[in-house]
């Protein structure tokens, strides 16, 4: 038996949801078609995971915009962010450029986004997920992570981390 398979067995045995995970894998691996889709999906997940947490690389512009959003106590629109940028990043004073950078930060899970009225507001991932839960009539204990990720534009793992934070 290869090292990877042995390691997987050990991880499944140690995991509190190991039995469920093993059941899912068994179900998907016995069918060639499902196995192929599983491989593609797992590769997608690996790519998504690599853009998270400590692996996230931010540009100088992104770092500036991120600190403006997270340093402000109230959520901000792209216009408000653009108005707060210093002279050293003149291009960010244009709302369109600020919007591009803001949405890039959201897709990297560095900030969160929610819609109120006709405007999108940028804030911490935790507050954005909290707002989306309210709009969906869900709670941290019972929620649709995939839909929240789709609606907010944040990575699934960021949504998961925010939900965990809300449970504390």
């Amino acid at each position: 038996m290869s090292n990877s398979i042995e390691k997987l067995i050990a991880l499944l045995k140690a995991d509190t949801s190991g039995e469920e995970l093993a059941g899912l894998l068994n179900e998907l691996l016995v069918d060639d078609r499902k196995r192929d889709v599983l491989l593609v999906k797992l590769d997608e997940i690996r790519k998504e995971m690599s853009t998270l947490s400590s692996d996230v690389k931010l540009t100088k512009s992104e770092e500036v915009v991120r600190s403006i959003v997270l340093g402000n106590k109230k959520p901000l629109t792209a216009q408000e962010v653009a108005a707060r940028v210093g002279d050293e990043f003149r291009s960010l004073k244009h709302v369109n450029h600020a919007s591009v950078v803001l949405n890039s930060l959201v897709s990297k899970g560095a900030i969160g986004k929610f819609k109120l009225g006709h405007n999108y507001y940028f804030t911490s991932p935790k507050e954005a997920v909290n707002e989306q839960l309210k709009r969906r009539g869900e709670t941290p204990h019972e929620s649709d992570w995939t839909e929240i990720a789709r609606e907010t534009g944040m990575p699934l793992a960021t949504v998961r981390d925010a939900i965990k934070e809300l449970l504390v």
Binding site: E131, P140, H141, E142, W145, T146
Partner: protein, 219 residues
């Protein structure tokens, strides 16, 4: 570790989120929000001891009743506990068997349905029941109708769960606008106030006779 339910395209899956700082797992079925308490709570207090960790669930429940381009309606939810002074669960009570009609200035709910839900969700009769309804863009004070409701509901609740201590809450919520989050603080003997990033919240607690009932925030 906390068990949560996550909706997926193919249905619901249960996920266990590890939490190094928490006490053993408390779980509940759909619609119930269990609260894990890491500290023992005094049972001889004359005040309602409201854990701050319940506040966020109350905020989400209260604000989830609002829909864009629709008028804000009152909603109901309940808190329950296994001791007479400390709630440890939030019950959404969104089922039509509990809420018969919701409007801007009133909500018609079934007290019997509420208690049946609570007992089902706790797996045993509660020692504390706090029936809460919201006042969208209002104040956390009971109206004359609310006073009558408190008295009538108290009789029904006591007939169904005689051991339970019964209180009522009025949860006022402001209109929606972007604001700074403010942490919960006690602003009077029976009231707690806080702000989410979109609405201001104030909840006050009352006895079945509509007298104020002291509340204290606990970790």
């Amino acid at each position: 570790m906390t068990k949560i339910t996550v909706q997926t395209d193919s249905g619901k899956i249960r996920i266990k989120l590890h939490d190094e700082a928490k006490a053993p797992v408390v779980t509940g079925p759909t619609g119930v929000e269990p609260l894990e308490s890491s500290k023992p709570v005094a049972t001889n207090s004359k005040a309602l001891l409201l854990p701050t960790r319940l506040i966020n669930l109350m905020e989400i429940r209260a604000e989830s009743g609002f829909r864009p381009n629709e008028e804000d309606v009152e909603i109901v939810y309940a808190l329950s506990g296994s001791v007479p002074n400390t709630p440890d669960m939030l019950h959404k009570l969104s089922s039509q068997t509990v809420v018969e009609k919701a409007a801007e200035d009133h909500v018609i709910s079934s007290v019997r349905g509420m208690i049946e839900h609570i007992i089902k969700e706790r797996s045993s009769p509660p020692r504390l029941v706090v029936g809460v309804h919201t006042h969208p863009q209002g104040v956390p004070k009971p109206s004359d109708k609310d006073n009558r409701y408190f008295r009538n509901a108290f009789g029904t609740i006591k007939s169904l769960v005689p051991e339970a201590y019964v209180l009522f809450g009025v949860h006022a919520i402001s209109s929606e606008s972007i604001r700074e989050r403010l942490e919960p603080t006690k602003i009077s003997r029976n009231a707690i106030k806080w702000s989410s990033i979109t609405r201001e919240h104030e909840i006050a607690f009352y006895t079945p006779e509509s007298n104020t009932y002291e509340v204290k925030l606990v970790e």
